[in-house]
Symmetry: C2
Subunit: 409 residues, 2 copies
């Protein structure tokens, strides 16, 4: 397996476009299209919020009824088309119809995604303009396509990974938008991933579910879960490489995991007002589920995130957040380490700052030097089991409050 | 039943003091003592965090072993005495011993509370100085006592309520500190409440538990739960009014509920960096527990709190937060109203901004005019049951981030 590249050259049989449909006031790219030359098997994971946007409801239905011949994914910004009732569903279908007409395919082959303000209706004239522009400009500019789905993101987020097999090579590529409303419990973002490998539908869905679980479900920006979160995976088989053996599927899973982890981390790095990238390695919890809950609670603690922002090695807030997670936890068996960078659980955990229910006699200057870095790893050893999980999160800054105090205007 | 007064004149048999023990650098009041002339029945509610500070552990033990003859409560600021191991417990006991010596009572009659930074040991010389000063200055200055337990609070928070009975009058009075680390699930603050009524121990504890449930457990500042949260209720019977009949206990409960609601709301009003006081009336949820969870999730949503700060009537974020609470919820049966002030659930709910899964056709100017007010009530009618709960919360501001990015230095 190769390394994840932060760009996409091309994926056989897929074309993309990101265009200015006039949704954004400043003429920026605001509508995007991903199209496959041939039918794709498609899988999806969707928000667990009980308030689901119209495009989410439509895509869930299409993947239920027609998961083997998907051809296109259209994404608009500015309006989330959530809490929009019957008209919202009608507009989501109308968007798919416009795409189908432009590409000479049928509407049931089109998936749609929306992001933006909740409760506003899609301006269908601008959507029509976006479909027209995008379908006339399909190519390999994945960077433009990724820019066309951005809201408060500051940069397009995309990546790809190539996998060599005995039967030839295939590629997995994708893009993501995120920024705010990011928390565990599904996707919390929009992401489209495509591959020119060929996979059977159940294998494709289980690979995406597993990949999302160790990537998009393990990042926390602000603890909120959106009404629109969607991750789609399309496989068109155009590489001629068909994956069916256990080893082939395992290699695909590894590559997909790596790509989705990269994209998920990109979402945290580009979170609203983020100044620090924080890796939380939770080890030796009673179970993996407990480890995930503990990391998620720490990552969503606004008090802890404020301390990260202030470059304060405030282990007290971290341990207190762990202590209020709905899990087994014993501070007396717990240790906490601090290290610079993004070391994984297997690396040296760094400076021990808490052990046996108390702070160690570490020197505050040593901790402060690490906390001043833009990327920091905390390793929390719960000392009561063998469950582990890594959560990626960030600080909360003045900038976050400014962005979200003033989003709709 | 009278009204809650935001001050305390005196409560028969109780004396208090707030003194500068030298814990705070600026010579401000930082240590406080509440003393009863005679033995008190005492009840407590404590943090549910699995990381419990030494004073919490000590008080839980004393209320277990010796709940009928409590005489004093000592509170220090600056050090939380949490995550301090065996020395922390020893210091908590030593504080009680110093108070007992100064008052010529026994150590088992003394409860202690601490607030401040986690993981620092109590500076016992300063504590000793505080005990000496406070025991020499006991009187009726409740305002000074309430100031002596403040951390990032901007003002002392105290209150009292008088109750007339056929046998005479009694008073319930109390003080609270809060500011940050405020979330449902117990107390999330320090509070001492005293009464000169006489109550049997089980009645006292059940009254406090019920009062905390509808007050301290229903406020959210930042969603974090402290290691030190403690609410104590002492009854010394010095009014000569003994409460035992169902009617007498109900009247006590009503008065205690009103006082604790007042004190809890004071904590929100004085929350770190708070600019808006928000009342969330959740009605017609499937159960009271569901209503409480929905209100708590909205109140802890940093995205929603940012919108409050920006005076944005962002019903989308409110409904989305409700949708991610772990409860039954159906946006299509839900309505949301917005009103100025602190109207209770029984009042007119105001401007309807969301109904049947969609925004109403309200005028944005009307909503903006309400959102510009310093106190706002949202009524969320879930339309699926008859469970209700009121949660009090606030916005999150730049100031919160500044306070918490820089707390330990």
């Amino acid at each position: 397996m190769g390394k994840v590249s932060p760009s996409v050259d091309s994926v056989r049989g897929f074309q993309v476009a990101g265009v200015p449909a006039g949704l954004k006031k400043d003429g920026a790219l605001d509508f995007s299209l991903v199209v496959s030359e041939v039918d794709c098997a498609a899988a999806g994971v969707f928000t667990r919020n009980k308030v689901k946007a119209a495009p989410v409801l439509l895509d869930m239905q299409r993947l239920e009824e027609n998961p083997k011949s998907i051809r296109a994914v259209a994404t608009n910004t500015i309006s989330a088309n959530a809490c929009t009732g019957a008209l919202g569903l009608k507009n989501a279908r109308a968007t798919a119809n416009l795409v189908a007409d432009a590409l000479s395919i049928v509407a049931e082959q089109v998936l749609v995604m929306s992001t933006g303000v909740i409760g506003t209706h899609l301006p269908m004239d601008k959507i029509a303009h976006g479909v027209e522009l995008a379908s006339a400009n399909l190519g390999s500019d994945w960077r433009a396509a990724a820019a066309g789905i951005m809201t408060t993101d500051t940069r397009p987020k995309l990546g790809s990974i190539a996998v060599e097999t005995d039967d030839g090579a295939y590629t997995i590529a994708g893009m993501v938008k995120g920024a705010g409303m990011i928390a565990p419990n599904m996707a919390t973002m929009l992401s489209v991933i495509v591959t020119d490998a060929e996979l059977q539908l159940p294998n494709l869905q289980s690979a995406l579910t597993a990949a999302a679980q160790q990537s998009y479900n393990r990042i926390v920006v602000d603890g909120d879960t959106s009404t629109n979160d969607t991750v789609l995976l399309l496989a068109n088989g155009m590489s001629g490489v068909a994956l069916s053996s256990e080893a082939e599927l395992a290699a695909f899973q590894d590559a997909l995991n790596a790509l989705t982890r990269f994209l998920a981390q990109e979402v945290v790095r580009d979170g609203e007002g983020v100044t620090k990238f924080i890796t939380l390695n939770i080890v030796n919890a009673e179970s993996e589920a407990d480890a995930e809950k503990i990391g998620g609670t720490i990552g969503a603690s606004v008090l802890t995130k404020s301390a990260f922002y202030g470059s304060d090695a405030n282990w007290g807030r971290i341990v207190a957040a762990a202590g209020r997670a709905d899990t087994s936890f014993d501070p007396d068996s717990t240790s906490l380490w601090l290290a610079e960078g993004e070391s994984g659980a297997s690396d040296a955990p760094g400076l021990e700052i808490f052990s046996g229910g108390m702070p160690t006699d570490y020197r505050e200057e040593d901790a402060a030097a690490i906390m001043a870095e833009p990327s920091i790893t905390f390793t929390l050893d719960c000392g009561i089991g063998d469950g582990g999980a890594t959560i990626w999160t960030c600080d909360i800054s003045h900038e976050y409050i400014s962005i979200n105090g003033d989003y709709r205007s």
